[in-house]
C-alpha cells in the first residue's frame, strides 16, 4: 500500500492554503532500469480534494508530473477545524486517501 501523503492545510484570512506531497514513483514508461529494460508506466492519474465532503479541487494528470508529486491549491471560505480529505488514484488502480483538519495560519 502506498505511503501516507503529507498534507499541510493552514488558514490565511478566510482562504485555506493547502499543500500536499504524495509518495509515488511517477514512472513515465520511457526510463530504463539497470538491466536496460523499460520501466512500465506507473503514475497518478486523478486527484480529488474534498472540504467537509464537498469536492473543491480535482486534477487529471499525466506522467509528466514529477516523482513524489507536490500540488498546492487554495480554497476560499474555509474555517479552522474544517475537514479536508485528498484522494489519488494511479493507472494500476492503486489509491490512497488521507484526511487533515484545517489549522490556523501564522
Amino acid at each position: 500500500m502506498a505511503e501516507p501523503m503529507k498534507i499541510r492545510a493552514t488558514l490565511q484570512g478566510d482562504v485555506a492554503d493547502v499543500r500536499v506531497l504524495m509518495a509515488h514513483p511517477m514512472e513515465t514508461g520511457q526510463r530504463k532500469d539497470a538491466a536496460g529494460k523499460l520501466v512500465p508506466l506507473h503514475f497518478i492519474q486523478t486527484v480529488t480534494a474534498q472540504l467537509n465532503g464537498k469536492t473543491v479541487f480535482t486534477a487529471d494528470v499525466s506522467q509528466a508530473v514529477s516523482r513524489n508529486p507536490v500540488f498546492a491549491f487554495k480554497v476560499k471560505g474555509a474555517k479552522v477545524g474544517d475537514k479536508l480529505s485528498i484522494t489519488w488514484q494511479d493507472n494500476t488502480g492503486d489509491k490512497r486517501t488521507d484526511e487533515v483538519v484545517i489549522r490556523a495560519g501564522s
Binding site: 487529471d60 508530473v65 508529486p69 488502480g93
Partner: protein, 154 residues
C-alpha cells in the same frame, strides 16, 4: 493493457463508489472514468488541445504563469499558475515539446481559488502553455522554460 484481477476489482469498487456519490459530489462529466486517455496520448500540442476541447482558446494576459526561465533539472520544474479571469473553473497545462504535451487539467469548485502549484518533468526547452476556462470560453498564455538537463531520463 495488462491488468491484474486485483486491480480490476479495485477499479470496479471505485466505479461503484463514484456511482453512489458521483451525482452529489462530482460535477457532471468529471469522474475518475473520464480521465481523457485520447488527449493524454496525443503526441503534439495541436492534437492535445483539440482532444481537450480548448483549441479555440484566445490569448490572454490575465493568466499568470510563474516558472523558472532556466530550469537546472528538467525532472522537477515548479510551476505556479493563477488565473485572474473572473469565473475560472478549470486550468489545463500543456508542455509543448514533451513526448505527450498534455500534462493535466485542474478543476475548481465550491470556493476553490483558480490557482495551482505543481511540479513537472520537461524533456527539453519548451513553452509551457496554460489554458483557463471560464463560462465555457477558453483563454491561453504560454511561458518558455529552458531546460539544461532533460526530465525524461528519470
Amino acid at each position: 493493457m495488462h491488468q491484474t484481477r486485483r486491480s480490476v476489482i479495485k477499479a470496479g469498487g471505485a466505479a461503484a463508489l463514484l456511482a453512489a456519490f458521483g451525482g452529489a459530489l462530482l460535477k457532471p462529466g468529471h469522474t475518475l472514468a473520464a480521465w481523457n486517455k485520447g488527449a493524454f496520448e496525443a503526441k503534439n500540442i495541436a492534437d492535445a488541445m483539440k482532444s481537450v476541447g480548448v483549441s479555440n482558446a484566445e490569448e490572454s494576459k490575465a493568466i499568470e504563469i510563474r516558472a523558472p526561465e532556466i530550469a537546472e533539472n528538467g525532472a522537477v520544474v515548479p510551476i505556479d499558475i493563477t488565473s485572474n479571469i473572473p469565473g475560472t473553473t478549470s486550468i489545463s497545462v500543456f508542455i509543448e515539446k514533451n513526448p505527450f504535451p498534455y500534462t493535466g487539467t485542474f478543476d475548481f469548485s465550491q470556493g476553490a481559488v483558480p490557482y495551482v502549484h505543481l511540479r513537472v518533468k520537461i524533456g527539453e526547452s519548451s513553452p509551457v502553455r496554460v489554458v483557463a476556462t471560464a463560462a465555457g470560453k477558453h483563454y491561453t498564455t504560454a511561458k518558455e522554460v529552458k531546460v539544461t538537463i532533460g526530465g525524461c531520463g528519470g
